[in-house]
């Protein structure tokens, strides 16, 4: 909602994400904040009301994975919006072609890559499962935990070699892994082997890591064929979007032992995780948090404000996203 007395001189901002008190205060200190979630209004009414103001907002702050799509309808409703600042390691909720100016963060790549590595070690070496074994008192009762699978030296296939995929590759190279990748086109300076499709990549990989953006070409890019190519000794790690993987096929493949395991941070219908997975020891399940650490949350807030201020002072955005 518009702020009170001192509002007039401050530029308007559409706030379409849930956030904390500190951040709202920081935003209100600089902008006239139209807080969607606080308004309780339906989206079209909220946008219309903001657009009807004498000095309608030129900026919008949104988040990936939320319900808000910055599409043609959105932009038509508030034509004054000239800058969209989004966070989350994806821009599938923003119609880039429709946006005049936009921004997104590079800041998450590293944290997401670290989480991917953690999931891969977790699924091959069964860290969390072994921890459960100890907590259940099974070590004295049942003896040694079964042998697990070595990570070092394994063949890793990465779908999507953007900033996140590259960070994952760099980390796993230090484990002696052989890295290959598939993406829309080969990357000129990537020192890794390129495969022309996900199936070929899976056939040649011990571990397949999904690190691509979500778009029409990558929806269900990992389906039955790719899983079969990955094979009964292969593992899948997904830190991209749930919908990059055919979740039903994945569950079936795990149940039938057609792949060896999976590390998943994202799911088709969050926060709902297929119950069949919750009883398996050869999967690692985290709650879409690859991007979130205490530090990234603080850095992120600074970055969002930085981008907004850059826009309002006519400077280039700090972290612009180029259209595809």
């Amino acid at each position: 909602m518009a702020s009170a007395a001192t509002g007039a001189a401050k530029p308007g901002l559409l706030l379409l994400r849930r956030t904390d008190a500190t951040f709202i205060a920081a935003l209100r200190a600089r902008f006239r904040v139209h807080d969607f979630y606080a308004s309780g209004a339906a989206l079209p009414d909220y946008l219309t009301a903001a657009a009807a103001e004498p000095d309608p907002p030129r900026t919008a702050l949104v988040v990936a994975g939320g319900a808000i799509l910055v599409d043609a309808a959105f932009l038509d409703a508030v034509p004054s919006v000239g800058c969209v600042v989004t966070t989350g390691a994806g821009v599938d909720h923003v119609d880039l072609a429709q946006c005049a100016r936009r921004g997104a963060g590079e800041i998450f790549s590293v944290d997401v890559a670290d989480h991917a590595v953690g999931l891969l070690i977790g699924v091959l070496r069964r860290v969390a499962a072994a921890d459960r074994y100890v907590r259940a008192g099974l070590w004295p009762a049942q003896g040694d935990y079964p042998l697990t699978t070595k990570l070092s030296g394994k063949r890793v296939g990465i779908i999507g070699l953007g900033s996140i995929g590259s960070q994952i590759a760099k980390r796993l190279q230090a484990f002696g892994c052989a890295i290959s990748y598939h993406s829309r086109e080969p990357k000129a300076f990537a020192p890794y082997r390129y495969l022309p499709d996900a199936h070929a990549l899976a056939a040649d990989s011990d571990a397949l890591i999904v690190a691509c953006a979500l778009n029409d070409a990558t929806r269900r890019i990992v389906g039955r064929c790719v899983l079969d190519a990955l094979g009964p000794n292969g593992v899948l790690v997904n830190i991209a979007r749930g919908v990059n993987v055919d979740e039903q096929e994945l569950v079936a493949a795990l149940q039938e032992g057609r792949i060896a395991g999976a590390g998943l941070d994202v799911f088709q219908n969050e926060p709902h995780v297929p119950p069949e997975l919750r009883d398996m020891d050869n999967v690692v399940l985290t709650a879409h948090e690859a991007v979130f650490t205490e530090e990234s949350r603080a850095n992120l807030q600074e970055l969002m404000i930085g981008n907004l201020e850059a826009f309002f002072s006519g400077k280039p955005l700090l972290t612009p996203v180029l259209p595809p």
Partner: protein, 336 residues
């Protein structure tokens, strides 16, 4: 019963003093050597078994041992089987072997060398990421069906930029360092002596290392100098935001002090693969979300067991053909 199938030459007699359950390990040994397997024999206790082996027309020249087998390789042991000229240890740790006594008698000792190093390093990094990023805690949250109900849970913390102090920079410590650097950590270390060609900052003692670290990784051998090398003093220096990861030996850490520090919030978390008094971990840790415990699994992958088998065979073949051991351990030499 001590006889084997009799195909290998009678002079390659090996005492097997390890309760090794891997069938392919036994098969590989029996293909090449005459194996006297204590754990398969009817001659316990140990002195009777050793006595019978020593008294045989072809007494054993090599013995396969491991620390967890609880058979110390000391003067009494060597007296019991004077024909022994080679001790093959299946682990890196040789704290249960009297190296000086072996050297005095001209008995050569081999250990597992770097066979397990990559796997242990991988596991150490896995524990570190799990503790810092709260992976196991997230798993519990999801498996209990709490995600739709509670929405979010406490965030983990960033790995890049963390200062990690490694205690012991041998094969394992170096491989841990390499992996952590790729994750953006700042690596420092302590070891008995500084290593010339490494780019990491050296600390002469563990206390000072702990002061400058966010995470302490214990990757050293267990010996007199390193028993309880992480104790109350070091934990205090590490501080309330600090994390301990132990893939060395349980006794490298003062476990009672560690548990107290965790209970009282004087350190932030721990990733532990080893404990005093295994099997088993301290029950007080079982309800803690900031602790990850694994049952001494760091070396145990299918691949490492297969590599170990090849490694043992290669060392024993070298010994029996009068060649130097591939991975000899000398008195006073750094281990792992």
């Amino acid at each position: 019963m001590m006889a084997s199938r009799g195909e290998p030459p009678a002079t390659k007699v090996v005492l097997l003093l390890v309760p090794h359950k891997d069938a392919s390990f036994h098969a590989a040994l029996r293909e090449r050597f005459r194996v006297l397997d204590f754990f398969a024999s009817e001659c316990s206790p140990l002195p009777a078994f050793l006595g019978a082996a020593a008294a045989a027309p072809e007494p054993p020249r090599a013995a396969i041992v491991v620390g967890a087998g609880l058979i110390p390789v000391d003067a009494a042991f060597l007296d019991a089987v004077p024909s022994l000229r080679c001790v093959m240890c299946l682990a890196a740790g040789v704290d249960f072997i009297d190296l000086d006594e072996c050297a005095r008698r001209g008995v050569v000792v081999a250990n597992s060398g770097s066979v397990f190093s990559a796997d242990v390093a991988d596991h150490a990094v896995g524990l570190l990421i799990d503790v810092l990023r709260r992976v196991s805690a997230a798993e519990r949250f999801v498996r209990r069906g709490l995600w739709p109900v509670q929405g979010g849970h406490p965030l983990g913390s960033k790995i890049g930029g963390r200062r990690v102090g490694i205690i012991g920079l041998g094969n394992i410590g170096s491989q841990i360092a390499k992996r952590l650097q790729a994750l953006g950590c700042i690596v420092c270390y302590n070891s008995r002596t500084p290593k010339d060609s490494v780019p990491y900052r050296y600390f002469t003692n563990v206390h000072d290392l702990a002061v400058e670290s966010d995470v302490l990784v214990v990757a050293c051998a267990l010996n007199k100098a390193t028993r309880h090398i992480v104790g109350k003093d070091v934990l205090e220096a590490l501080g309330k935001d600090g994390v301990v990861v132990n893939i060395g030996r349980g006794a490298n850490v003062d476990q009672a002090e560690l548990v107290r520090a965790l209970k009282e919030g004087r350190i932030a978390g721990a990733g532990l693969d080893v404990f005093e008094n295994e099997p088993g971990a301290p029950g007080e840790l079982f309800c803690m979300d900031n602790v990850v415990m694994t049952p001494h699994v760091a070396v145990f992958t299918a691949e490492s067991m297969s590599d170990l088998r090849d490694h043992v065979v290669a060392n024993l073949e070298a010994f029996f053909s009068g060649q130097p051991l591939l991975t000899p351990v000398l008195p006073h030499s750094p281990v792992n």
